[in-house]
Subunit: 123 residues, 6 copies
Amino acid sequence: MSTYETGKALSEQVNPGMEDALRARYGHLVPTLAEGVVDWAYGRHYADETLPLRERYIATIAALTAQGTIPQLKVNIGGARKAGLSREEIAAVIWQMALYGGMPAAINGLNAALEVFAAEDAA
Amino acid sequence: MSTYETGKALSEQVNPGMEDALRARYGHLVPTLAEGVVDWAYGRHYADETLPLRERYIATIAALTAQGTIPQLKVNIGGARKAGLSREEIAAVIWQMALYGGMPAAINGLNAALEVFAAEDAA
Amino acid sequence: MSTYETGKALSEQVNPGMEDALRARYGHLVPTLAEGVVDWAYGRHYADETLPLRERYIATIAALTAQGTIPQLKVNIGGARKAGLSREEIAAVIWQMALYGGMPAAINGLNAALEVFAAEDAA
Amino acid sequence: MSTYETGKALSEQVNPGMEDALRARYGHLVPTLAEGVVDWAYGRHYADETLPLRERYIATIAALTAQGTIPQLKVNIGGARKAGLSREEIAAVIWQMALYGGMPAAINGLNAALEVFAAEDAA
Amino acid sequence: MSTYETGKALSEQVNPGMEDALRARYGHLVPTLAEGVVDWAYGRHYADETLPLRERYIATIAALTAQGTIPQLKVNIGGARKAGLSREEIAAVIWQMALYGGMPAAINGLNAALEVFAAEDAA
Amino acid sequence: MSTYETGKALSEQVNPGMEDALRARYGHLVPTLAEGVVDWAYGRHYADETLPLRERYIATIAALTAQGTIPQLKVNIGGARKAGLSREEIAAVIWQMALYGGMPAAINGLNAALEVFAAEDAA
């Protein structure tokens, strides 16, 4: 199975319809973007079984919190929930980033988590 | 047990002599630094049992790789080894950061890991 | 007096009700967060008398402007005003960051300051 | 011709009224800001003919995407369009930043571009 | 031709032996890394003809200067030279980053360029 | 007096010979760099009297610590010493950045300060 196919299987599982949504939004500007995200992010990183998905999401949430990249942090908090992390565990990863990205970055990350959790409760 | 005491117990386990070393190096400039690191970083974050130590190190390695903070990345790769992560698992966390901190940050992180692993082999 | 108690006294002075507000918002996810902020940020940094509060706020505004961390920049501009900095002094710190964080970061910081000052005028 | 005068000529061409707008908004806080932007950014960088304007905008869009500085990214995408870059070329610069600033930064940059292009279509 | 094959052709042209060197250095830790770099960085970005190679290097040098990622900045300054940029043009891109990444980042970038140019002269 | 002349007077006072040194090192690549640094950094920022030089250095040290820009941090710690800051005050600014840039950034900043102070003692 190619890395694209492996990535497609995983992305459809954790984020159904993602490739089509990316193509619809960005395809007229960057025709290869949608396939590239599936192949590179999902096929070559997330689907690699050296680490369980749970731990890959911990790494991602840590990095995005430290960087302050809020929109994708929210998406990946959603993914982490599907991969089995509890709300408290996600919050602990984010709060730990007070040590590395600074206290404001950690607070902003927790605010993003609160939004995701509120949307879960409203669903 | 106070957060300082909890942190002291953990820091002596994963990083023996750390508080004394910090005090010897920085104490004349910032007298409260050494105790503050033990209390804040170890007592209030790493010793918190919401996440196992293994997963806290994954979060830390991810953030430090994405930020390109190499000296502390090396220290924490050492800590991650003591917390049970294999070399391949550590490398997978670092390489995943190509998605978030960029490919150069991930390569620089792997170079740091290679140095730590070479020092292990030489020990 | 413990660092927590020192921090509590200061935080209630510059930011009344902060610990309770943090606990109400984040306490169900990170039970130790509110006390940790008081102890670490206020007790161990802001309350340390090596630097006057005025100069600690200058340092904070500089860093948050360079990093582009806007929500906390606004909070700390408010704190700086209480610590005696004039609007022009705050603006000078922010604009100086054009040298270090780049011109866009400085402009975004000034926009944050304009919002804080407008809220002052409206109060 | 002074660097201010060279910068003024260029800024009026690519961004008419900019100096006056800056002075109106920020002049009461930082009286020298507006003239400084014209002199430093336009007179000493953009007007320098070592690189054509098209290539200066490529450099700027790359940096602002990698940094995630969205408001100024939008302004400079507008400038890049006036300097002759096609939508697809701008998108290619932004998407390339997935390699350096990470995939989220590139996606956020493309979202900024979509907003600028939609405003063009609505004009 | 697959994106890997396209990328391989380009990487061998601008950076001969790169895939083998990456595999020799990192392959025992991340077996898929070398092929991934060829496919993703070269096949899916640099080889894409929406932008000429010259302009892709301008974007890369801008981003790496603003981020302060010096080792890869040097590599890409070398690539930019092969893609036809003059020393003065490369320096102009780097110096422009004083506007976006700050003056220190630009100076550090120029120092990296001076090292690359000195190595050229010594070759 | 022009901003260049004001900046020249100040730069010769705090950093004698700087413009000539910049011209000697970078002038063949960026002919306008040396004059630009004097005019922009010294003439338009440091010489502006809205803030005393002491406080401008506090802002600079804070930002450079948070960003991890070590070479220029050392230069500016030297400048801060000339502007009257004690070693303990400089260390307090740097350590405060544990709150904003993270603990590793603060430790790396203190290491830079230790180097500068050791050089003072050796002088």
